[in-house]
Structures are given as structure tokens and as C-alpha cells.
Point group: C3
Chain length 354, copies 3
Amino acid sequence: VRRADRSFPLRELADRVGAELAGDPACVITGLGTLEDGGEGDIAFLANPRYRKHLAGARVSAVLLREADRAACSCNVLICRDPYLAYARVAALLYPEPAVAGGIHPAAVVAPGAAVDPTAWIGAGAVVEDGARIGPRAFVGPSCVIGRGSVLGADCRLVARVTICHDCTLGERCLVHPGAVIGSDGFGQANDAGRWVKVPQLGRVVIGDDVEVGANTTIDRGSLRDTVIGNGVRLDNLIQIAHNVEVGDHTAMAAFAGVSGSTRIGRHCTLAGASGLVGHISLADNVHVSGMTMVTHSISEPGVYSGNVPAIPNREWRKNIARFNRLDELARRVRALEGRLGGGAGERAAEDEQ
Amino acid sequence: VRRADRSFPLRELADRVGAELAGDPACVITGLGTLEDGGEGDIAFLANPRYRKHLAGARVSAVLLREADRAACSCNVLICRDPYLAYARVAALLYPEPAVAGGIHPAAVVAPGAAVDPTAWIGAGAVVEDGARIGPRAFVGPSCVIGRGSVLGADCRLVARVTICHDCTLGERCLVHPGAVIGSDGFGQANDAGRWVKVPQLGRVVIGDDVEVGANTTIDRGSLRDTVIGNGVRLDNLIQIAHNVEVGDHTAMAAFAGVSGSTRIGRHCTLAGASGLVGHISLADNVHVSGMTMVTHSISEPGVYSGNVPAIPNREWRKNIARFNRLDELARRVRALEGRLGGGAGERAAEDEQ
Amino acid sequence: VRRADRSFPLRELADRVGAELAGDPACVITGLGTLEDGGEGDIAFLANPRYRKHLAGARVSAVLLREADRAACSCNVLICRDPYLAYARVAALLYPEPAVAGGIHPAAVVAPGAAVDPTAWIGAGAVVEDGARIGPRAFVGPSCVIGRGSVLGADCRLVARVTICHDCTLGERCLVHPGAVIGSDGFGQANDAGRWVKVPQLGRVVIGDDVEVGANTTIDRGSLRDTVIGNGVRLDNLIQIAHNVEVGDHTAMAAFAGVSGSTRIGRHCTLAGASGLVGHISLADNVHVSGMTMVTHSISEPGVYSGNVPAIPNREWRKNIARFNRLDELARRVRALEGRLGGGAGERAAEDEQ
């Protein structure tokens, strides 16, 4: 990793992230490194126990770790409850985001009716349409398109080639990665004797503050209501948010997560990779959906929900899936056996199946 | 939702969508609203029974609904067989697509050998390559790329940042959303002793009339044949259509649907979200595939096909999946029990397994 | 398919691809065709037995096929071990990639500090930022963005609208399709009492030689290490490669494959469509993952791994999935039956479950 833009004595880092320092307070940290590859001047972190084996041989100048791992480390340590969180803060101190230089690239196209704050930057090839408003210190990277009437809050950063369709709003400090599309039409199709009739999509996308949207993720505009993304929501790459969806504050989704139309997700939920929610359901706060899991009903209780078939060697899987395809028959055979032997279990099971 | 561009007396709306009017024929409709949030001047619809509870308290001026729901509504009603379809038509009347103003934005790049109809619009930053033909009233939004030799039919609308690669054709009235890629190379890879050798992709993508293509959806060009998308097909966001695929007229697919190479899909099929079809198979007309379902064989009978594991609480799922991974053994144990008890079922099952 | 750019006598094609010729060596091949649709002057191939039925009626001038299919073909044949591979080579001979004409389109934006080889092409609307280096004969298609400090090796081809973020490197002869994003931020999020704190993503993406990246595929930059894609890797459309992932040489992935953070994949692996790998695991060389399969643990043995539920008619699936959701109970009932009947199997099973 490149050298850090700034450097700090360990004492100051400890204070800034609220960690307990054990070691040389004057040791100067000039960069980040991994336990495996980092060197002199670097600070590393240990959060995942999988990487504890690298602690003994680490050549970094300091390590962020939990109290329990302290004894295993012979270099300077910053002891904290959540080393990954402390690492995030240290990284942001060492590598601050560069300040945005206001201005409009000569190869950008800004409509006369657009309002661009003088401290905002509009990059080469970007197109800002009529009625759009770009807030203070916002960064609109190369080849972005900001549709008519859309609003970017202060300090938003659109990395490059982002599309914001018309009449959408982003709060402050949103970060949007390349290829993301915000405000595309929802997939509303009525059927007239076999032919699809498009339903006009008249709502907007309304995004809160501190939201991150990953590369090539798509968020459709509402049909009548708005599609609403709460504050602090984090979306990975290649996610689909359908029309009228509401995502609660501080919910996070991993790549390929998909949320179908009009579904409401609570606060502090997580959707793991390639999980999907059908339409018109709601999830309570603090619901966590496992990877490649399909949620088909509303969930009112917090907790972890799963439904997938983890990989096993193909030969075993083939036998099991063949059995699965006759599972109902197998269950009937078990009931028949129970019936022949008599007694409670079989009768209870039979009653359940009425 | 914003005020409608036009307004209509209820009588006229009823006539235009073929609904039976009960209420004040002179009531003027000036917009759309939901049962929950709409107000004076709005028309709402009730299709999904889930939302019937909002009927009593609705403050809209009129509601599109089925005969069966009529009694529960105290305001003006338009009674129709399919309220969602009627709503689509009403919405299109109230919010018509704006007419396309012909011209070429000064920041567009149109090759000298391209033929752009004078009534078509080419937006800022768009690139139209040699030999491309853009039909009457077509709208090519900002930052679109139209490759050499490609053809857009009359009234096509490419919202923004769409890529049409070389030598592809779109029929009339197609609507393509941002980030979609039409005509990328198919994934043809031969293997030479462990190294992949690219197979040139020489076919085209040929798209019919009235097709909608969602944001960031990809449609690969054929290897030798063309990839063919029939009339009236509707594709949601983030869909993958591989090379040589043929999609029959009026088929619709939801987000993350994927169709592997050379597969043929019939007419009036639906693929739900995240469903996938392996390559070189065919689906009859009127086949409906459930969400997150993988189709591994050709399907010759119309109907609904499913294969997924809906979410349940993780604790229960863990137990069941552990059992699934020993399902073959469980079935053998059941057979053994049947054998020990004697009689028909066990013997039949044993025969089936020969 | 369009006429070939070049033509060859059959003798020369046979020599070039190492095939045995049976037929007229002077027959001139002027194009490619399928067994079903090809005609005079075309050469076809037969690899998938599914298409053998078209052999008898084929009207092409020659067919690439295996020895075993020779007798069934009455026209000229080129006999080879792998007809698909031979076809790939023949296609590349007949339809060579056009040479790149060096230059910079007047509507491209190249920063003064970028180094563009004079033999490279920068297309209309492309943006090349400071410090970027574009190698000999590289082709940067319309509307691509090459971030500051990024490097394209010789003969790379970015078809159109590709985004390479800052400080990434591509080796020689890489082919990247429209909408692909290389070097977007990894999804690193620490949690501070319910609020997500972004972890700066400071690594790069480093891509080897002869890599193909499909349309709308995303490859995230590393957090501290780099994300590394080996030589000869082939990625289809809409794939997600997360931060710090390492993909071994000559591995291929089909559409919607997803690899979570810090996972390492060996050489010569294949991930079928919509398969997914959790983070922080490793796959040995020559591991093949089936479609829609989720890999949740490291795999150290080569082979095929599967975990999905292929589609069956919905009515049957409903019954089976209901049974699946009570599979643990069913297994307990079987054990109870075994206990009541006495004997070995039940006891062994009971012991397993301790």
C-alpha cells in the first residue's frame, strides 16, 4: 500500500481512537500494513482469529488488537474492544480524503438551469441537466449524468460514470461508485391479454445522509410513492433495489442482494451476498439474512434467517438431491412404518398432515 | 408524486379504460395517488388484497377496483376486471411521455457516416459511430454509445449511458435504461491444455418492437447465430442474456434472471428474480420459473417450476441442512426398516432404486 | 453471420489447426456457419452431441468434427480431437481483430500528465487522467474512464464505457467489455454501535496478461493488499470480485459468480453461473463449482462441488420443501423407529448424533 499522507505518534493515535497503549508512545506511524506483509512504521490490526498465526512473525511497528491477544504480540500494541473499527479510524486519519477543488471541467456539460455550488467539482464528460442542484464540496466524477431536477447534498462523492436519473435526491456525504444507477424506472408491467403494458413510474428515489452505493448497483424510482434509502445505509456492488422499497437506517447489503418491489426493511438489518426478498413484505429491525437465501414472508422477529444448500462434493449432492425430489414420498413411508408399529409419534404426525 | 400533466373528468377516464363508473362523472382527476396517501383530485387503484385495509380511510377522489371491492368504498369508483391494467392506462393518459425534440446536442459525437433522422434527439456526450442508423423520434440520452452499424427503430428511448455495440438492431418503441449493454461479446472460451482460447463472437443482437431493457442488464451478441429478443419482451435490471439465446414474444424476466448460452425460451414465459437457466435447453410457451430457481433441463409443459429453499430461522435451518447432507443415508435407513417389517412399500421403493 | 474478412483453402486451415483433412484440399472456405444454417463456402463444427442430428442435412463446405462423427458426414471434414478449440482458431483466422489505428479522438480528454503510446487509440468521450499510462496498440473505446496512475499493457482492448479507477494495472492483451468497473472501493465497513464506519480501501487491482472481463462485471480494489487476477483468467458478465481476492491463472467464471473478500481461488478453477464463495476461504487448483452453488468452506481437493435445488414442477416442490422444513423431525422419527425395532443402524445413527 502507498505511504500514508500523514503520520502520527502512537500516543496520538491511541488517544484519537480510544485505545489503551502498551509500548513506545513516541513511535511514529507512517502507514498501514497487514500482519503478514507490513513493515517498519506500519500499524496492523488483528480482528479475525484466522490471522492470529501471523502475530508472532509480524514486523510492523504496532498492532491494534483485543486484550486477549495482547500477550501473543511482542511489538507495540493498541488495545481496543473492536480492532477493525479502530483500524477504520486510524486509516481515515492516515489517508484522509483529498479536499475537493471547486470548478467545472471544460469538457463537462452543465445546463444553464442547473445550480452548481462554486465549491463543487464537475468532472470531464459529466452531464448536469436542467434544474439539478449540486451542493457544497460535492464531487461529480468523470462521465457522470445528473438528471433534471436531481439534488446532491453537501460533500457527496460520485466517483465516475454514475447515473442519477431525474428528480432524485441524495443527502449529505453520500458516496456512489462507478456504474451505479439511481432512479431508473421500476419494473411495473400490467398484462393485457398476454401483452405487457408499462406502468409509468412517477415516484422518486430519496436517499439519506452518509449512504454508500456500490459499483453497478441499481435503485429504481418509485411508481407512486418514493423509493427511500435511510441514513447510513451501505450497499455493496451489483445490488438491485426495486420500486417503492424502503430501507431502514444503518442497514447494509452485500453484493447481488435483491429487494423486490414495495418491500420494507427495518433498521440495522444485514442482507448477505445474493440474498433476495420477495415483494410486498416487511422485515423488522435487526433481521439478518444469510447468503443466497430467499425470504418469502414478512419477518417480525429479529434474528438470523437462512435458506440455502452449501456446497458438498458433487457425487454426494447428486444422491441427496435425488432423495430430496422424493422427500414427500419418503415422509409418507416413514409415517406408514409408524402406523404399522403403532404408538404416538406416527399418529401425531398423521394428524399434523390433515 | 408530482401533479399530472393533464386532467380528465372521471367519465372520460372510465370510457378510455373501459371501466364502469359509479359516482360523479364530472369529478375531475388531476393526478394519481395511493389509497393511503392520495388526496383530493387523485385516482388510486386496489389490486393487491393486502392493501384493501386502506380503502375505508382513503381520501382520494376515485378508485379503480374490482366489482367485489365496490361495496367497501364510499368514494367514486371505476369498476374493472383488472384494476392494475386500468391504472397503467390512466397513468399513461395523465402523465404522457414528452414528445422528442429533434436535434443533436453540440457535445454529442456523431460520425459522418451515421444516419440520424432529423426528428431524433442525440444527447450530450453521446457517441454515434459510423453506419449507425437512428430512426424517427428516437431519443438517445446523455453519454450513450451506439456502435458502428447498429440500428434504432422509430420511437426508441435510450434513457442515458446505454451501450449498443456494433451491428445490433432494436425495433420500434424500445425503452432501454441506464447502464444496459447490448451486443457485448458472448462468453465463448475453448480450452487448449488448460489455457482459454477466445471464440470470436460474430453474431448480432436482434431486438423486436416494444421491448424494455432494465438498468445494467447485459445482452450478449451471438457467436454465429444472432441473439434474438422477441416483441414485447420486458427485462428488469441486472439480467444476463447469453449468446445465441432466443426469448419469445411477451416473455418477462425479473432482476438477476440469467439465461445461459443457446437456450430458447418460449412466448409468454416469466422468470422470477434470480432464477437461472442452463445452456442449450428450451422452454415451452407459458412456462413460469420461481425466484432463485435453477432450471437444468428443457421444459415442454406449461406451468410453474420451482427449486429453492425459502428462509427459516437459522437454528432450524442448520439442523435441516445437516440432515439434508445425509439424506441418502436416511433414505437407506428407511428402506432397511421397511425391509425388516416386510410388505409392499419397501419392496417397491427398493425396486425403484435399482 | 457476415462474410469473413479473409479466406483459406481447406488444406491450409487443416495445417494451421492441426486437423486431419478428408475431402477436397482446394475447397476455399470463406466464412463460418452452423450445421443447421450454414451454406456454400462455410465451415461448421460439431462438438455438442445435441447437434449431431443436423450433420446429415448440412449444406456447409466443410465440418470440424471428431473421428467418431466422421462417418455420419458426407462433406469435407477436418478431424480433430477438440472441434470447438479448432473452430475457435479457424474463426480467429477468418475474422482477425482489426489493427488499432493510433491516435486520440478530438472529443477525448487526456490529462497532460498521462502517457499515451502513439500507437494506442483513445476514443470519443474517453477520459484519461493524470499519470495514467496507455501501452502500445491499446484500444480505449468511447466513453471509457482511466483513473489517475492506472496502467494498460500493450494490446489491451477496452470496448466502450469501461471504468478503470485510480492506480490499477492491466497486463497485455486484456479485453474488457462495456460497463465493467475495475478498482471500485471494496466493501469494508466497521460497525460503531450500530453505525457503519467506512474502512478506507487503499490497495489496487492488479490484472495479469490475456484476461477477459465481461460487461458490467465489478472488481474491487484491495483494502491493504491488492486484489489480484492471474494470467489468462476469463470473467463473464455481471461478476463480483471483492477486495483482496486472488484468482489463480486460467480460472474462468460464468455470469453472476461472486467471490467475497480475501478469498483465494486456485488455478484452472471454474465457477458456474450464479455460484458464490464466502470470504476468507481458499480453493485449491482445479476446483469446479456448479451453478447457483454457495461455497462456505475452504476446498483443498480438486473436483466438482454442488449445492442447489434444480427446478421441478411447483406442486411437487411445495410438498418436498414442506418436508425439508421438518427434516430434522423426520430423521428423529426414523431413529425412533430404529430404536423400537432394535439392531445396529439405529444405534449407530444415535451415536453419530451425540
